[in-house]
Amino acid sequence: MDITKIPHINEVSAFHGEYKPEDCEKKSTVRFDERQKASRKVLPSIEEAIKRSGLKDGMTISFHHHFRNGDYVVNMVVDQIAKMGIKNLTLAASSLTDCHWPLIDHIKNGVINHIETSGLRGKLAEEISRGLMDFPIIFRSHGGRAAAIETEELHIDVAFLGAPSCDPYGNANGYNRDDENSSCCGSLGYAKLDAQHADKCIVITDHLVNFPNAPFGIPESRVDWVVVVDNIGDPKGIMSGATRYTKNPKELLIAKTAADVIEASGYFEDNFSMQMGSGGASLATARFLRDKMIEKDIKCRFALGGITGQIVQMHEEGLVKRILDVQSFDLIAANSLKNNRFHQQIDASYYASYVNRGAAVNQLDFVILSALEIDVDFNVNVMTGSDGVIRGAVGGHPDTAAGASLTVVTAPLLRGRIPTVCERVNTICTPGNTIDVLVTDQGVAVNPNRPELKEKLIAAGLPVTTIEKLKERAEKVVGKPEPIQYKDRIVGVLMYRNNTVIDVIRQIKED
């Protein structure tokens, strides 16, 4: 038969001519167990994977930060890339931390000439603040990065994704159901998105398990190659046993006040939704909320975000119905993701992107966040220290602040001699118009754009004052700090969650 005679055949999409048996891949007849051992995806070395990926000068590589300060993957991969003589790469990590200081040499020798990340700490951050790089660091929130990746504006050529378990076909996960000795990071939320959009995706694991490694965080359909190494990270740095409740009385006071604010706000009703930031006071708020939930007999429909053992405890007690987990903050959270059916792993776009068809941050009643500094216009800095040096991460701060109906920032009024409430923050990470309430150990301030909220809090007998008064109070105790001296050179750019420039970080002046 002449297939060209089929009516309209040339208008049919996905039409590849006539079937010929010899053009099709020959089917395998060996036992599946033998077949998976011979999987062509499994490569003998990172070097081989880099070669196969076609990585060239000027391309963009990506990494996730689920291994926190225990990560070996970034340094291992960039060392290998340097040995192979590839230069001028953009390193687009979901975040970077203290353990990534060896990147300093790879910046100096020209392997990395541009970095995108959510955060930066330690020696690398200090060197950047002193002007190490010509190209400023681009800081994006978790939602802003997700949006940039899914619109392909930030195009990832090769993603190198560490995973505590993976099968020979690339089904990867943040825990291991086959071997208890494996390291465990819980959710792979940030890696999931990179796997979804990168041209080439390489999973690096230290535990190759039998197919199928289900349930999986990253599906084999997105994975090109798998490399097995001795160690993907230091388990102790990847995860601490449990996030401990603070014993600091000042933080406990702040947490108790924050819980009272939420109770009085009108958002603490049955089926509410919430997210807790990772600061001491914001975490401790969970404990006080738990007591109030039991007392009032109300349940939380879902808890979002970075998940801790406190949230898991409330889930297992039936107080929190569902957990949406983009990042597990401790081992209890990671094990809950592994064992609890209604503890759901989500990716960074689902969590916080502003361009997709629905992000969970927009379904939040309230979020409790922390701040290094907050100014009289409620702008928040979570990025630069009081000396102007980079030592923080934007994370999901601006995303959740914009999404939640009630955004509460918790912070001590003073940290040593440094006032938290100031005239103008060093670096704006989250704009003040998205912050509703500031809770300090010395009073509560409500954003003037929420007068109805202020009335509710006053009616509940909370210690409500104005942010200007909090600032004056701080200055009365410690004095008025002199502003930090910077040079003109820009070393970092803060992108708001819609990827517009909200602020810049300049080189520090040291003399």
């Binding site: 009081s386 040593g416 001699r417 700090p481 002199e482 930090i484 001296q485």
Partner: protein, 100 residues
């Protein structure tokens, strides 16, 4: 007040300052200061130390101070204690430290 030996007061705890006062040949106060909040409060801390010594009538001394974010009242109190010890004087008059 004459400085005749080495006097130390304070600790390295946060929100404290450790002040060391030593004899010096000739007039004047030689001051070295290290502080966690040098950029924001360095000048103010130096002013408090110098004013406190002037009030005590200390005209000649080598002073070194390591600050961990102490408030002005702490800076003044530690400076006074170090000066009294360095002068081997027990002639204290206890009263409130006045705001500088």
């Amino acid at each position: 007040m004459n400085i005749i030996t080495t006097g130390v007061a304070g600790t390295m705890e946060s929100s404290d300052i450790i002040v060391t006062v030593e004899p010096k040949a000739g007039e004047g106060i030689d001051l070295t200061l290290e502080s966690d909040v040098m950029q924001q409060f360095g000048k103010q801390i130096e002013k408090v130390i110098r004013d406190t010594l002037a009030e005590l009538g200390v005209n000649s001394a080598c002073v070194s101070a390591v600050d961990k974010g102490a408030l002005d009242c702490t800076v003044a109190a530690r400076t006074m204690a170090a000066a009294y010890r360095a002068a081997e004087s027990t002639d204290y008059v206890f009263n409130e430290v006045k705001k500088k």
